[in-house]
Amino acid sequence: MNSRILMVVLLLLTIALVGLVAAQTSNSTSSGTAPTQQSSSTKAQQHKQKLHLPPNFSADDAYKQNCTRCHSEVPKPNERTSKTVLRHMRVRANLTQDEAKAILEYITQ
């Protein structure tokens, strides 16, 4: 019984936090990113749209947001090794396919 109450409380807390952060984030997105978007090249924008990534989201962002969230930077691997590591991390870290591609782009550049 206590576990159920706790689960409900945790779920409500999560939803509340999701709403709070979502509200703050969407405000900051609308107010602070226009200059960045304007300065990006059309080609880069098209590439990001193809990858289903936000317009002001870079491969560098993908790496920093996902990889260093858990571990420190690792030595740069070669391209084929990177692809294997990325496939492994896509599963382990629940990356989306587009995030994995962006990270691969970052570490093989």
Partner: protein
């Protein structure tokens, strides 16, 4: 039992293929990667009053990509414990076992189907932080003792963006009972659901697992990871509760010292870490904790540590901790060295 397991496996595969069939426009996948041998070698020490331990470990991981959508991966972990107690000779034992031996099928952009033996998706420590080259402090938090570490069965997992500001990630699993010292597991089912706010660099997750043998018992959990956008600071938190075994939490902060204006060559490769944790025993001991390595009474522990990377793949760590527990408050000193390696097994020289 076998029929039920086969049925569940069939359902999981069916879901995967249906999801694959419904996938939108297919992206051209990058060329397949090379098979890889990776993992770490580590040596740790743990000094407490009256007891000293040396803890060598090696954990080779083999990753074999097959085609565009499959990955076979396995980690064998060998952990030694050499213990010396006051007025006693050195004693030692080695734990051997497969951390995971799984087949992954990338069904579509948002779903991966996993079968075999895998790390149980509960909280953030077990799946993401437990390798010694990743963890900030040598000692595992108390509450990892009440979470299942490995499962044998099937798992569906993945992630998908919602708008431009949040990515949702999920994992749900079923585990069959296996009574084997190398790859044992409990009959259980569970899930973890995470929300990652990309701009805030904040992830919040909740976990649930239900043990389906020896009494049906629930374990619930919550976790969070936050990385500052302005400072090289990470904060991690995890909570878990099982009403028959206990509850607890840990919170950990890590500050990379690269912005410190003095001793730059040293500081740029250093990180300071602090962890505080508490464990609460249940009011009524409903189940024996067995080999869960949990404290016998309420306990709290604080650690302050320092990591230094000799090279990006070689990490040293030193930490001092103080444990406050009914059996006697005491100091804990740990020192560790880890080397993370990655070698292509074939065709990876390009």
């Amino acid at each position: 039992m076998i029929r039920r397991f086969t049925l569940i496996s069939a359902v999981i595969l069916l879901v995967a293929f249906l999801a694959n069939a419904q996938d939108g426009p297919q992206y051209k996948q990058p060329e397949g990667g090379a098979p890889l041998l990776t993992g770490f070698v580590g040596l740790g020490t743990d000094f407490q009053p009256g007891q000293q331990q040396v803890l060598p470990a090696i954990a080779p991981i083999v990753l074999i990509p097959v085609g565009d959508k499959w990955l076979i991966e396995s980690e064998l972990e060998l952990e030694g414990t050499y213990t010396h107690a006051t007025n006693q000779p050195w004693d030692h034992e080695w734990e051997k076992g497969f951390e995971y031996a799984q087949v992954d099928y990338l069904a579509n952009r948002y779903l991966t189907v996993v079968g075999g033996r895998f790390l149980t998706p509960f909280g953030i420590y077990n799946e993401r932080l437990h390798p010694r080259w990743v963890r900030n402090l040598q000692s595992s938090p108390y509450i990892t003792g009440l979470e299942m570490s490995d499962s044998n069965g099937g798992m569906l997992r993945g992630g998908f963006p919602v708008g431009n500001f949040v990515n949702i990630n999920y994992a749900t699993f079923f585990s069959a009972p296996v009574n084997n010292s190398w790859e044992g597991s409990t009959r259980a089912a569970g899930e973890r659901l995470g929300f990652f706010f990309t701009r805030a660099r904040l992830e919040i997750g909740t976990s649930f697992q239900r043990q389906l043998q020896d009494g049906h018992v629930n374990t619930v959990g919550a976790d969070a990871i936050w990385q500052s956008n302005k400072l090289p600071l990470d904060v991690r938190f995890e909570y878990a509760r099982n009403r028959f075994v206990g509850s607890g939490y840990w919170v950990e902060g890590a500050y990379r010292m690269r912005k410190v204006p003095f001793l730059k060559p040293f500081m740029q490769k250093s990180q300071a870490e602090v962890r505080f944790e508490q464990f609460f025993t249940p009011p009524v001991m409903g189940m024996a904790s067995g080999d869960m390595e949990l404290p016998d009474s309420n306990a709290k522990r604080v650690f302050a540590g320092w990591s230094y990377w000799i090279r990006p793949d070689v990490r040293t760590n030193f930490a001092y901790g103080r444990e406050l527990i009914d059996s006697g408050d005491h100091n804990v000193w740990t020192v560790g060295l880890t080397y993370r390696f990655a070698f292509p097994l074939t065709g990876g020289s390009k």
